[in-house]
Amino acid sequence: MLQLILILIPMLASLVLVALIDDKTIRSGYIAVAGALASLIFSLYYFSVLGGGTAVAVYSWFYIGSFNFQVSTLSSYVSVFATIIVSFISLMVIIFSLFYMKKEPQKRYYAEMSLFVFSMLGLVISDSLLLLYVFWELVGISSFLLIGFYYEREKAAAAANKALIMTRIGDMALFAAIVILFVNYGTLSLTFILSNLQLLSSGMLLLVASLVTIAAISKSAQFPFYPWLPDAMEGPTTVSALLHSATMVAAGAYILILLSPLLSSAGMGTVISVIAIITAFIGAFLALHVVDMKRILAYSTIESLSFMFLAIGSLNAGGALYYLITHAIFKSLLFLITGALMVFFGTQDIRKLGTKGLQNSWLFLPFLAGILSLAGFPPFMGFFAHLTLSHAFGVYGQALFVVLSFLTSLFAFRLLFTVFRSGALPSKKMYYTLSSALPIFLLAAITLFGGISLFYMYGLINASYSLDVSTLIDLIASFVGVLSAFWLFGSVNRNYWVSRLSSFADSLSSFSYNVILQLIGASVVYLGRSFADFDDALTSFYESVAKYSLILSFKSRRIEDGDVQTYISVMLIGLIIVLAVAVVFL
């Protein structure tokens, strides 16, 4: 019951905001803040009363005959940690929105944000697959609405459509998986299905696991579905902060964490790992290439998500969850700082931002904390997250992870060194208010000290960690990344290697990706054509049926002329025919 209250509060906030959309006097932001705050308080309380283990609350939805259709919610440490992180990040982002969205049409924004929070909270507490699917779609719809918040801009509208359509593929795959599971089990309860996996034939298991994987990689922007995520930058930055950290893209990783027993018994681990590694390299190189600050962070999100997928692929669901939490905190921190910079300077081009002398601003230390966490340096939270990830990898995984750590810290510190240069600060612009400073400093503090939570949490979420020589190599690689970033990007003048790197990234970003997309597009069009042809045939069949029915009705309507005596005579003739038939045949 507590869980229902927990998720219903943001929904109520959203409904209230929609209902009051024409009211000018009310400060809509506070309603959304109150909704998120209440959710956070409820989830913390819920955490404190949670007894451990996995409990399922079952509610009857409706009955058809003897078939009782049930929905159920899940309460385990995994879901409650996810609830806490979702409501906490949402609260931070909505508070920051009070500062960021001052000049915008606010009610629609806050209503959509609350809907987004509601959908994601619903997703993480669902045990019934149907409920899960409903919230999964709601997350997709609300992110569509928010990405296209500036719908009057053509690019924003196109980006929203792109996000919706590309994740649609995954939605269909998830739906197919749910249908298959329901046909095989007759129930939609996830806990029941996961504890009875042996009832499924191995072919079915593989099919369901691959469908779920497709759903997750499209939602979490993994290869080959990643291009929607950088385009989603067209929304407000606060939306990116929420969408990239705790809600939309986390949904894909979360569903794989939930279903990790299914994936492991289907043997999907290697496939997911390969996809994740491809995505990680693409994300890292593209993050090195682009100059738009939000896009850099978007590619970094893609790379971080592929770390989660790598953990899931190495059957380390607890590590994936811990990385998800860590990533949510530092990525929302980085995005909020980007949002503040956009408010102050009106640009997100890192070359222009580099001329402002930001190293002396109050945003520098929080940003440094976020970057260090992203690159995985101790004592920041990212370091502990890397510990939970790396112990489960094999030798090749370790080696690739070292390379990825190097690349991560390279692009992270490129961002830092390019944007936060020393110099004279434009004095008046960098004001701060409670609503902008509180979320940023709070998130920075958690990034700095939150790593301790690992020692409390790892037993509860079934993660483990190890400190060994690979950790050291990892750290050295990251440090080398920092040094090379300093050497390459520390000064304003671009040197030889930067241009080489840049041209390599250029070729990567244009690398036949369009060809793949066009191929997919062409096959979809072909499929659509054949469906359309079939549809045409069907339509013409129905048209001829309709035509002949019309002719028949013209003939037969004569007897319905309104004359009582005609009716009676027709009735009598019918009676006589029935009697004659009865006499002849009986």
């Binding site: 002329d561 309104g562 005596q565 005579s569 009598l572």
Partner: protein, 100 residues
């Protein structure tokens, strides 16, 4: 004594007359009279059957049909009177206009 066979022949003729009247006459009152004849043919059949098979079922059905026939006549005649007041005619030919 009239046999049951002969009675059924009489009632069949009566019913045929009634059907002919129903189908051919346009006048409302004639129509009702024809309908009454059809019902009476049925009643005769029931009563005869009741006597033939020594069961009171047929007689009780006959009573019920009488009651229903009365009610039906009352309803139809009241409708015809209203209709006559409006149009000055009780012919069924003009009743076609009521079709949906």
């Amino acid at each position: 004594m009239i046999s049951y066979q002969n009675l059924t022949i009489v009632t069949s003729i009566l019913f045929a007359v009634a059907v002919y009247g129903i189908l051919s006459r346009r006048n409302g009152v004639t129509f009702i009279i024809s309908a009454e004849i059809a019902l009476n043919a049925a009643i005769l059949n029931f009563v005869g059957g009741s006597d033939e098979f020594s069961s009171l079922g047929g007689a009780s059905y006959a009573l019920m049909i009488l009651v229903i026939a009365v009610i039906e006549t009352v309803v139809i005649i009241s409708m015809l009177i209203t209709y006559y007041k409006r149009t000055g005619s009780i012919s069924f030919s003009s009743l076609k206009d009521l079709k949906g």
